[in-house]
């Protein structure tokens, strides 16, 4: 059994050490909000936070996680109250929604580092997340909106 810290909880898993974090989360821990899209860090659907940094969980072996803290979409907030979730809801961003867990995790990591991102900052932070439905226009607006909400929260 390996210890793993997910969404603030100390958990144990019997997954083999070489199992990608993505499949540990989805199959062993039942957290299916993190999605499988490509298995090659090309689409961003599996994005989670490792110690607050965005990471493609399909490329991180369980053995390499160690004591670092994992945050998934289920742990971004308990009640959809994170500013990116509020902004995404306000702008009705998702279509099929399959990529949106990853989009939200990338956007949340961006705002944690840079609370007032420019369009160029958004381009750089979000380029790794494919949306096949083409919600990019609304994603861009929602990141800006989330930054506004963040300012209000911090005011």
């Amino acid at each position: 059994m390996a210890a793993i810290n997910v969404n603030g909880k100390a958990l144990e898993t019997d997954a083999a050490p070489d199992t990608p974090l993505l499949w540990v989360l989805r199959d062993h821990l039942g957290l299916t909000g993190t999605k499988f899209g490509c298995g090659a860090a090309l689409c961003g659907a599996c994005t989670v936070h490792i110690d607050g940094e965005p990471a493609r969980s399909c490329q991180v072996a369980l053995a390499d996680v160690g004591a670092r803290k994992i945050t998934t979409i289920e742990g971004l907030s308990t009640d959809r109250s994170h500013v990116v979730q509020k902004a995404w809801l306000e702008l009705d961003v998702p279509q099929c929604g399959y990529c949106q867990s990853g989009q939200l995790m990338s956007a949340a990591a961006l705002l944690a580092q840079n609370p007032s991102p420019t369009d160029a900052d958004i381009d750089a932070a979000m380029a790794g997340n494919i949306c096949r439905c083409g919600t990019y226009g609304r994603i861009r607006k929602a990141v800006h909106r989330a930054a506004e909400l963040l300012k209000k929260e911090n005011a």
Partner: protein, 714 residues
């Protein structure tokens, strides 16, 4: 349909409202629900099925018959029903309907979500269901109060009489015992409070916290996981396999052969995926072992010299071309494309001796059920189809090729099994958008008037494989879209179609043949404008005097885009189309620097008739444009030795956020019948972009993708 109120008098058995009892003990009012406890227990073949349930606790559940794949049907179809029922969207819970004949899509003849038909199919059906329920609730209240029903009205989930109110939940039991009204009057459009309003989607919240359940997320007690490998050669079969080593690997429960592949079943997916690599598989490549793109192209080119079957014939285009003062000719070729839904193909099956439950992100419950039953050796009515959220559809999930492996595996191990395709399996085993080899010719008379248009289409037929009876005597209707409805005022028009199979299965890809034929027609119209020395917008507009809906979107797009007034160094292209009852024009504005293309802005004018939800229409237009833009820039599936060379998003490129241009969508007010909106945008952007590149460079693009035509796309 016009905007006037109208009465519906037709009534069939399936429309009857009957009483049912919820498993939890509450009473339900279900249209068509005859004494059954819950719809999930109902089968196919004309069995009674519910559209909605109203329980004693006032909870209202709408069963949506169409699959939610991002296009917003859970919201839009619910809006239609809620409009007549007299409740807000917030008051409603949505459930995926089971499979059943009552859910047959009247436009497609089976339970299918596709062809941008959902609103058109549901426009009357769901409002009628809501109106029937409302009428019965009012009647129940009228009886209780001893007043005439026409003195009562509904308001926010209650029947109201002055200051007295009875909630729908309080009335549900009594209402459900009443006869079904044989005639209901639907609201006139001017009284709509929900339909036509940009309501927020009801599925959004579940897509922001990981709680929405897609096919890949299904969990069942005792469920095992399957990884799947198919013959690398398209159309090839499994010859034999040796799983001795794989079976010793951790977690592996079984290794099972299917018709064309091998499934490894394990406790967890990653175990199955790893063990799959340890199975020694022998394939039978079959007849495609030497197939490549050159062979496909040669086959289509040769076939294109045949006369073809006439799909439209006005006047005498051949004679008009012979006598024309000036003739312009061109050949266009278009590539195969993958759907590349972000959720890879997947399916969960629980097959038992006398029944099966199949959990699938499917666009067609009818065919999924028939396929699952055939593979499981059961009768269709023994198979329940549970439709999950779809992580993208785009036509890919009209196929049922992702179902068999789960059925075979579950049957073998006697437990539920979820099979997930890797991205590589998904990319290399799609049913690709058909390739095309099309020739087109047009003639001008001595005065410069366009007198002849002759379009000869050549390609493989999707419908011949999917729905053979449709093409038994007729041309595949999904091969000649955006071709036979050529709108321009030309006296001699001929459109011919040559069906030529290419050895691989082709599939319905968002906008289907619209994307092929609109590209040819609208790029060639641009060539003709150029040949006539006219502005591409003016040239089109002059030929659309008899086509007010085309003319209106063309004018609107041109005016909103500032046609002819692009900033220095920027260039514009224009294109239009009618498809799915929707009229659309787009202007694409680009610049070229050192041979590299930048798309700055896309302006789109849309007349899709009456809208249910402009917010969702706007989403669909934006998304469908980017889907088409992705394909126009990079989409190209190539074969070597019958094997698809693109395996993941590194070689099958997707548009990303920094590359997404500004899109301005202009939705035009219209009282016309609703049109489909999921697909037209995909077809129109390609030709508008190619025409803009001509305006910038003088180079005509007669094939795609643009990145392979000597143009840098960054």
């Amino acid at each position: 349909m016009n905007a006037e109120a109208h009465s519906l008098t037709h009534n069939t058995r399936r429309d009857f409202l009957k009483l049912g009892v919820l498993a939890g003990g509450g009473l339900v009012l279900g249209i068509g629900l005859v004494g059954c406890s819950k719809p999930a227990a109902l089968g196919a073949g004309g069995q009674p099925v519910a559209w909605l349930r109203i329980a004693g606790d006032n909870s209202i559940t709408v069963l949506v018959d169409k699959s939610e794949m991002g296009q917003g049907v859970y919201t839009a179809l619910t809006q239609l029903l809620a409009e007549e029922l007299g409740v807000t969207l917030e008051a409603i819970r949505v459930e995926a309907a089971p499979v059943g004949a009552v859910y047959t899509n009247n436009l497609l003849g089976a339970q299918i979500t596709g062809g941008s038909t959902s609103v058109r199919d549901g426009w009357e059906k769901l409002r009628k269901a809501g109106a029937q329920a409302r009428s019965m609730l009012i009647q129940a209240a009228a009886t209780q109060w001893g007043v005439a029903p026409d003195t009562l009205k509904v308001d926010a989930g209650s029947v109201v009489n002055g200051r007295k109110r009875l909630t729908f939940g309080e009335l549900a039991e009594a209402a459900a015992k009443l006869p079904v009204p044989t005639e209901v009057t639907l609201k006139p459009a001017k009284e709509f409070t929900l339909v036509g309003k940009p309501a927020k989607r009801i599925d959004t919240a579940s897509k922001l916290d990981g709680s929405a359940i897609y096919g890949i997320d299904v969990k069942l007690p005792g469920m095992l996981h399957g990884a799947f490998a198919q013959c690398p050669t398209l159309g090839g079969k499994l010859a034999s396999f040796d799983a001795t080593a794989a079976k010793t690997m951790p977690g592996v429960k079984d290794v099972v052969g299917t018709d064309n592949g091998v499934v490894v079943v394990a406790d967890h997916y990653w175990q199955a995926q790893k063990a799959l690599g340890a199975v020694n598989i022998q394939w039978n490549a079959g007849s495609n072992a030497a197939l490549d793109n050159e062979a496909i192209r040669a086959r289509l080119k040769k076939a294109s010299s045949r006369a073809g079957r006439a799909a439209r014939n006005d006047g005498n285009a051949a004679a008009a071309l012979k006598s024309a003062a000036k003739v312009v000719r061109a050949t266009y070729e278009l590539p195969m494309l993958a759907h590349a839904t972000l959720e890879p193909q997947c399916c969960t099956a629980d097959v038992r001796a006398d029944a099966a439950d199949v959990y699938a992100p499917t666009q067609t419950q009818t065919i999924a059920q028939a396929t699952a039953a055939a593979v499981a050796g059961l009768k269709p009515e023994q198979v329940n189809i549970h439709t999950t959220m779809l992580g993208g559809g785009f036509g890919r999930r009209l196929e049922v090729d992702f179902i068999a492996a789960a059925i075979v595996a579950s049957k073998a191990v006697g437990k539920p099994v979820k099979v997930i395709w890797s991205r590589e399996q998904d990319m290399t085993h799609d049913t690709y958008r058909p390739p095309a080899f099309d020739t087109v010719a047009a003639g001008f008379d001595a005065t410069g008037k366009l007198t002849a248009w002759k379009l000869d289409l050549t390609g493989p037929s999707i419908t011949a494989r999917m729905f053979p009876p449709v093409v038994a005597t007729a041309i595949d209707p999904f091969a000649i879209e955006a071709a036979t409805n050529y709108p321009y005022d030309v006296p001699n028009v001929a459109v011919n179609y040559n069906r030529e199979e290419v050895g691989v299965d082709v599939g319905y890809w968002r906008s289907v043949s619209h994307a092929l034929n609109c590209f040819v027609a609208e790029c060639f119209m641009d060539e003709l404008a150029s040949a006539a020395g006219k502005d591409p917008y003016e040239f089109r507009a002059a030929l659309l005097a008899k086509q007010p809906r085309f003319k209106r979107v063309l004018d609107e797009a041109a005016s909103r885009a500032g046609w002819g007034k692009a900033p220095a160094g920027h260039h514009q292209g224009i294109a239009l189309m009618e498809g799915y009852g929707t009229y659309m024009a787009q202007v694409v504005e680009i610049s070229m620097k050192d041979g590299a293309l930048t798309v700055h802005r896309i302006t789109c004018a849309v007349d899709c008739g009456q809208m249910v939800n402009p917010n969702i229409v706007d989403q669909q237009v934006e998304g469908s444009i980017l889907f088409g833009l992705t394909a126009a820039l990079w989409g190209d599936i190539t074969l070597e030795r019958g094997q698809v060379q693109q395996r993941n998003f590194d070689t099958y490129r997707m548009l990303r956020l920094p590359e997404a241009p500004r899109i301005d969508v202009h939705l035009l007010e219209s009282s016309e019948a609703p049109g489909g909106i999921g697909e037209p945008g995909t077809a129109v952007v390609g030709p508008a972009l190619a025409n803009a590149i001509f305006a910038a460079t003088g180079k005509r693009l007669r094939s795609l993708p643009i990145a392979k035509q000597g143009i840098k796309t960054a």
